[in-house]
Amino acid sequence: MQNNDRFKSIMAVIVAVVTVLGAMAACLATVAMSDAADADFAGIDAAIRAQKAEIVNEVNAYEHYRAFTEYTRYLELGNMFYDPNADKKTSVANGTLQRKAWGVASGIIGVFFKPRYITLDGKYDVQRELAEEWADDSKSADLNPPPHFTESDQLRKRSSFLTADMIVFALSFWFLTLAQTTEKGIKYLWATLGVLLGFAGVIGILLGRFLI
């Protein structure tokens, strides 16, 4: 009777330990789930900020591109007033018109866009302007959602693993309970299985917490 009481007492202690470990696995799984939600939020936050930055940059760059198009119109119009075969009177008149057109072009280039984005072949490198603005924005804010989402996926895997680990602890608990309620010698087999599963559960916690 005394042996049996001692056995039951040991089992009760082990059951208590397994219960605490199971609760620990549940706690770690919940924390991982919560961290995953935080990472998702950070990712969405970055995506929204990136969206805002990109749209604002597009609006600005294409406003500049519009101005450049107007500039081209007046610049080329001025160029076209040059006629080497024109008589003197026409040349004077053309010259006046040419200066007017070039004046407008000069006004536009001085105020409404950045001339350094004009390429060697006389076009406007809108993609370069967009890329440079984006690089500036990236320095002052997090505009990169994928790392957050990768982290979130990883944390969700951890959460799932630890939740699965809870099943192992539950099975351990079940065998230990069976061992407690059994009077025959087989109770030692149940107890061994319960303890082994408990150890497996501990390994699961370590794997889940530190390797996933």
């Binding site: 549940a26 998702d40 119109r73 007033f81 939740t163 809870m166 079940w174 309970t177």
Partner: protein, 568 residues
């Protein structure tokens, strides 16, 4: 002696319940695992949905910004230079025209849309930006929007499963409590607790089975179907309906219950005038779960055009029964009743239409807002639909006429025609009165205006007043530089109107650039002239087609006339 067996039985009972409790604990752990799994699936799907939604919005906005440059800046400047070139050519200034031609080339080089892939100025009269828009953003934005919808659906389904599993966990907790309480009780009642607890566990076992089946059968995000659908949408946007139909069918093969693909397939067939196929696909979309304004509107209209009036009314009523503000569908229902020969219900619907239009304008003005732009569009469209019905009844269908064939119209055609004419006038007057006064037209009689005479001004005096006008026989003018404008001679009887509104429709659609409003005092005479067109410039002439001119005197439709510009 009697206590010993009772104690043993007590012990056996407690052991059994203890094992049951441990077993339920295992079951709880398994349920928690699947709850966590479903919850993760849901959260990840919803996150991807949010990502796609953000990306779709960004793609569409950025695309619109870029397209705005190509259309409103590059193409506009290109067009302005082109018109300057035309004016120079008209003036015989070939040197300037050549200069403008070269300048056009310089501008065209700045825009991809004006490049050879999308526009050949030598071959195309007008640019067709559909292909450029489709390539620039439409297809990708559509794809992302569809991914959003599919991921959101997946997120919702798996979230519902996760919620169901939470309920199961709660029930299992209840059963654990019942088992625990049974150990504190004596006699038969403890078995009741065990039986109820076990019953709950049994229910949870079955429910978990169903939840697992639901997880396995969860909706999938079918990317190949979505890609085909997005490409089809881009092709349809360019008017390439045959190619779009192939793509939409491909999407449906990939995903048999793809409701949006059925809907767009219906639109493509509708645009090809294959109404039977359009109806079949709209019905398939509705069967697949798409039961919104758009699908019922299209379905109702297709039923109307094919003479299936009761089905048309049923489709319209599906929406109007819970949202009376959809004016376009109200008009469709009214005209369906009219085509079915049911004038009583048609009258009722047109009355509701006018009341609703006034309510919307009134409500907007009270809140110091403007009514929706679509209100004017749909009211105009309702009047045009009635005109189309009249044209069909007069055996005079135009190229743009959309109405059931005369043999599909029930009832007395003469009565329907008269009713349609009356309602059309009423809608037109309602639109003008609401737009210019914010109120429905009053009951006053319209100023009497003699039938219009169309012709050309042949003389003006030193003050610029018209002294000569020559009416053109049958109001037929010939396309060319001689027909830059057309003048209407109108004569009114009685008291002079204070305000005149002119509307001009070209081939059934109002040309708003020719709309004119005048508050001039015309009491000094009864015959006046109004010129429409481009006599003030050398760049444009009137394009060929049927022109319908409407005159509203003090917001009442006083006269309608037609003239034609025909190719020689």
């Amino acid at each position: 002696m009697s206590e010993q067996p009772e104690s043993k039985s007590e012990e056996r009972f407690e052991r059994m319940v203890t094992v049951l409790i441990a077993s339920v604990a295992v079951w709880v752990a398994i349920t928690v695992y699947f709850q966590n799994y479903a919850s993760n699936l849901s959260d990840q799907a919803r996150r991807r949905a949010q990502e796609s939604s953000i990306a779709a919005t960004k793609k569409e906005v950025v695309g619109a910004i870029q397209y705005s440059y190509h259309w409103q800046s590059a193409y506009q400047i290109w067009s302005e230079i082109d018109w300057q070139k035309v004016a120079a050519e008209q003036a015989g200034d070939t040197a300037t025209a050549d200069r403008y031609a070269k300048l056009k080339e310089k501008i065209a080089a700045l825009s991809e849309m004006l490049g050879s892939k999308y526009f050949d100025p030598a071959a195309d009269k007008f640019i067709n930006p559909g292909k450029y828009e489709a390539d620039l953003y439409l297809v990708e934005a559509t794809r992302l929007t569809e991914v959003y919808a599919a991921e959101a659906e997946l997120g919702n389904v798996t979230n519902n499963i996760a919620d169901a599993l939470v309920v199961q966990i709660t029930l299992l907790t209840v059963s654990l409590s019942l088992y625990g309480l049974s150990m504190a009780l004596k006699g038969g009642v403890r078995w009741l607790f065990v039986i109820i607890g076990t019953g709950i566990v049994g229910v949870c076992a079955l429910w978990l089975g169903k939840s697992l089946i639901d997880i396995l059968a969860r909706p999938e995000v079918n990317h190949s179907a979505i890609n085909a659908y997005a490409e089809g949408t881009g092709l349809a946007y360019q008017g390439k309906y045959d190619e779009a139909i192939v793509k939409f069918n491909e999407a449906i093969v990939q995903k048999t219950n793809y409701k949006m693909a059925y809907s767009k397939l219906g639109d493509a067939y509708y645009n090809k005038d294959d109404l039977a196929a359009a109806i079949a696909n709209y019905e398939a979309a509705r069967k697949a779960g798409l039961d919104d304004v758009n699908i019922n509107w299209n379905l109702g209209w297709s039923y109307y055009l094919t003479g299936q009036y009761s089905q048309a009314i049923e489709a319209d009523e599906r929406i109007l029964s819970h949202d009376a503000s959809v004016l376009g569908m109200r008009m469709n229902e009214a005209i369906a009743y009219l085509a079915a020969g049911d004038l009583t219900n048609a009258q009722r619907q047109y009355d509701l239409l006018n009341q609703e239009a006034e309510r919307q304008v009134d409500e907007a003005h009270q809140r110091k807002l403007e009514p929706p732009a679509s209100l004017w569009y749909y009211m105009d469209a309702g009047a045009i639909d009635l005109q189309n019905l009249i044209d069909q009844l007069d055996q005079d269908p135009k190229e743009w006429t959309q109405a059931p064939k005369p043999d599909l119209l029930a009832g007395d055609h003469a009565v329907i025609r008269k009713f349609a004419d009356k309602q059309m006038t009423r809608i037109k007057e309602t639109v003008v009165a609401l737009e210019y006064s914010g109120k429905l037209p009053t009951a006053q009689n319209a100023v009497k205006v003699q039938p219009f005479k169309f012709g050309k001004i042949t003389g003006k005096n030193a003050e610029g007043l018209i002294t000569g006008f020559e009416a053109t026989p049958d109001a037929v003018f010939f396309y060319g530089t001689d027909t830059k404008s057309v003048t209407v001679e109108f004569t009114y009887d009685g008291a002079p109107p204070k305000q005149l509104v002119w509307k001009v429709y070209l081939n059934g659609v109002e040309n708003q650039s020719l709309r004119a409003v005048s508050n001039d005092d015309i009491s000094s005479g009864s015959t006046w002239y109004k010129t429409f067109g481009y006599g003030f410039t050398d760049t444009f002439i009137l394009s060929s087609g049927e022109y319908v001119v409407e005159l509203y005197a003090d917001l009442k439709l006083a006269q309608i006339g037609k003239f034609y510009v025909k190719e020689k």
